[in-house]
C-alpha cells in the first residue's frame, strides 16, 4: 500500500489550549479512513489541518508535521495547489451563491481552465460522479441556493471532484441530512474510493462502520486507536474505544 499522508507528532492549539496531542498516523492511497470520536475530540481540527483550512481559525498554532505525497503541507505545498489536491466537503453544505454550473466550474476556472467545452465536460462528469446529474441537468443555470439540502451537499461533493483532487476530506457530511440523502452520499463515497483517498469525520459510528476501510478513534485530542474497521468495532484494543463504539459513552 502506498502511503499518501503521513502525520508525525502533530499537536494543535487554539490560543494555547491543546486541541490535538501528538497524533501519529498514516493514511494510505485509495482507502477510506473513518474518524470517529465524541465532540471536542479534535477530529475536525485534525481534518482541517490536512488542507490548512485552520489557517483562518483565530489563535490556531501547531507542532509536528503533515506530509502529503512526501511534501510538508506547511512548508512545501503552495496553499491553493494543496487545497485543489485535497478537497473538502463541510458539515453544512457550502454552495456558492452562483449557478449550479458556475459552482462546478469555480475550481477549474480558478486553476486556469477557460474553454467552455472543457468546463462543460468537467461539470457533467463531476455531477454524474456525485449522483446528482439526473436531478440537476435541466437546472444547471439556476442558482445553487435553490437546491435541497441533500442536493446541495452532493453539489459540494461534485464541486470538489471538479477540481480533480487526490484526497477528499469529509467533515460530518451527512449531519444535517435525511437517511435517503445520507444513503446517496455514502454510495457516492464508496464509488469515489476507487479513484480517491477519502477521510471521513463522522459523529455517526454506524456510518463509519458502513463506509470506511479503517477507523481512527479520537478522544480529547488524542488518537486512541486506529485499525481496520472490523477490528475496531469487534475486537478493539483499547477499552475507551470499546466503550465508545458500543455506545456506553461519548
Amino acid at each position: 500500500m502506498v502511503e499518501k499522508i503521513q502525520v508525525q507528532d502533530l499537536s494543535a492549539y487554539y490560543d494555547g489550549a491543546l486541541a490535538l496531542k501528538k497524533v501519529n498516523l498514516t493514511i494510505y492511497d485509495h482507502e477510506i479512513l473513518g474518524i470517529i470520536g465524541p465532540a471536542n475530540s479534535g477530529k475536525t481540527t485534525f481534518l482541517r489541518t490536512l488542507n490548512r483550512m485552520n489557517d483562518f481559525s483565530p489563535g490556531f498554532s501547531y507542532e509536528g508535521s503533515v506530509r502529503i505525497d512526501g511534501k510538508d503541507v506547511y512548508r512545501d505545498w503552495e496553499v491553493p495547489q494543496l487545497r485543489k489536491s485535497v478537497g473538502m466537503v463541510f458539515a453544512i453544505p457550502t454552495p456558492l451563491p452562483i449557478t449550479v454550473f458556475e459552482n462546478l466550474a469555480y475550481g477549474p476556472r480558478r486553476h486556469g481552465i477557460r474553454s467552455r467545452k472543457r468546463l462543460s465536460e468537467i461539470v457533467e462528469r463531476s455531477l454524474k460522479a456525485a449522483f446528482l446529474w439526473d436531478e440537476v441537468k435541466d437546472r444547471l443555470h439556476e442558482s445553487a441556493m435553490k437546491l435541497s439540502g441533500g442536493q446541495q451537499q452532493r453539489l459540494c461533493i461534485a464541486r470538489t471532484l471538479a477540481a480533480e483532487p487526490e484526497v477528499i476530506l469529509f467533515d460530518e457530511p451527512c449531519s444535517g441530512l435525511d437517511p435517503i440523502s445520507t444513503a446517496k452520499i455514502e454510495e457516492a463515497m464508496r464509488e469515489l474510493n476507487k479513484q480517491y483517498t477519502l477521510v471521513l469525520v463522522t459523529n455517526n459510528t454506524k456510518q463509519a462502520a458502513r463506509v470506511s476501510d479503517r477507523v481512527a478513534f479520537f478522544l480529547m485530542g488524542e488518537l486512541v486507536e486506529i485499525d481496520e474497521t472490523e477490528k475496531v468495532f469487534t475486537i478493539p484494543k483499547d477499552e475507551r474505544t470499546e466503550g465508545y463504539v458500543s455506545g456506553r459513552y461519548g
Partner: protein, 289 residues
C-alpha cells in the same frame, strides 16, 4: 391595571415611531409652502436651467444651474475619491486585517466620523488649499477639487462602516467553500464576497453620496463660493448648501430671494431623498431574495 400599562407603552412607542415620519412630512410641507411662493413670479424652467444666480440684481435672477453644477462637481469628485478608497478600506478591515489592527482601524474610521465638519473645513483651509494652489499652479486653491478631497474624508466613515457591515453579512460558508476549492483570498473576495455584498456596497456608496451633497460648512470654507458655472474641477464653485447658508441671513423674510433659497432647499431635499430612497431600495432588494 397591567393591560392599561401595556397600552400606554404601546401607544408611546407608536407615537415615537410615527413622529419621525411626521417630522419629515412637516419639514417637507414647510419647505414647499415657502419655496413654491417663488414660482408665482419666476418660472420653474428659468430656476432650474438659468445660468445666472444674481439674487440682488434688478430684476433678480435665480438660475440655480451654477449651484447645481457646483454641488455635482464637488460631490462627484468626492465620490470618485472616497468610493475606491472606502471600498478598499472596508475590504482590508473586514477581510484581511485581523486582531488589534482591525480594532485600531475601526476605531480610527469611527473617530473620523466624529470630527466636526467645521474642524475638517478649517484644517482643509490651512493645509489643503495652499497645497492645491501650489501643486497645480492655480491662482487660488479654493476650488471644487479642494472641496472634493475634504468631503471625501467625511464620506469615508459612512462608506466604510456600511460596507463593512455588508461584508460581514456574507455567510462564512461562502468563504470556506471558495477557499476550500483552492481559490486565493483575493479570488474569493472578487468572485464571491463582493458580488454577494453588491447591494450593500451600492447602498454604502449612495449614503456616502447623500452625506457629501448635504455637507455645508466645510465646502463653504474651501470651495471659493463663486456662483459661476465651473468649467473644470480646479475652479471655485458654490454649492446649493453653501448658498443657503451664506445668504439666508441677508434676506428679507417674504422676499423673492428668501423664497428662492427655500426653493433651492426643496431641490436639495428632493436629491437627497432620491439618493436615500435608492440606497434603501438596494438594501431591501437584497433581503427580499
Amino acid at each position: 391595571m397591567r393591560r392599561y400599562y401595556e397600552r400606554v407603552v404601546e401607544g408611546l412607542v407608536f407615537a415615537s415611531g410615527m413622529a419621525s415620519i411626521i417630522f419629515v412630512i412637516l419639514i417637507f410641507v414647510f419647505l414647499l409652502k415657502e419655496g413654491l411662493m417663488l414660482f408665482r413670479e419666476f418660472s420653474v424652467i428659468k430656476f432650474l436651467l438659468g445660468k445666472h444666480w444674481y439674487p440682488i440684481s434688478e430684476p433678480p435672477q435665480f438660475g440655480t444651474l451654477p449651484l447645481i453644477l457646483g454641488s455635482l462637481w464637488v460631490t462627484l469628485g468626492a465620490t470618485a475619491i472616497s468610493v475606491p478608497l472606502g471600498i478598499a478600506c472596508a475590504i482590508f478591515i473586514g477581510e484581511i486585517a485581523s486582531g488589534w489592527l482591525r480594532e485600531v482601524l475601526k476605531a480610527g474610521v469611527e473617530l473620523l466620523a466624529a470630527i466636526p465638519s467645521i474642524v475638517l473645513g478649517f484644517i482643509g483651509l490651512v493645509t489643503l488649499v495652499p497645497l492645491v494652489k501650489n501643486m497645480f499652479g492655480l491662482s487660488t486653491g479654493l476650488t471644487a477639487f479642494s472641496g472634493s478631497v475634504m468631503l471625501a474624508f467625511m464620506a469615508m466613515p459612512t462608506i466604510v462602516s456600511i460596507m463593512e457591515d455588508a461584508l460581514n453579512l456574507v455567510p462564512k460558508t461562502y468563504r470556506e467553500g471558495s477557499i476550500a476549492m483552492g481559490a486565493t483570498k483575493w479570488q474569493t473576495i472578487r468572485r464571491i464576497i463582493l458580488p454577494s455584498a453588491a447591494s450593500g456596497i451600492i447602498a454604502a456608496v449612495m449614503l456616502g453620496f447623500g452625506r457629501v451633497i448635504g455637507e455645508t460648512m466645510a465646502v463653504m470654507m474651501i470651495t471659493g463660493n463663486a456662483a459661476v458655472i465651473p468649467k473644470s474641477i480646479f475652479q471655485p464653485v458654490r454649492t446649493m448648501t453653501a448658498t443657503i447658508a451664506a445668504e439666508m441671513g441677508e434676506t428679507v423674510q417674504g422676499s423673492d430671494h428668501y423664497f428662492a433659497l427655500f426653493a433651492v432647499a426643496i431641490l436639495l431635499f428632493v436629491i437627497t431623498f432620491a439618493v436615500n430612497f435608492l440606497a434603501d431600495w438596494f438594501l431591501h432588494r437584497k433581503k427580499a431574495r
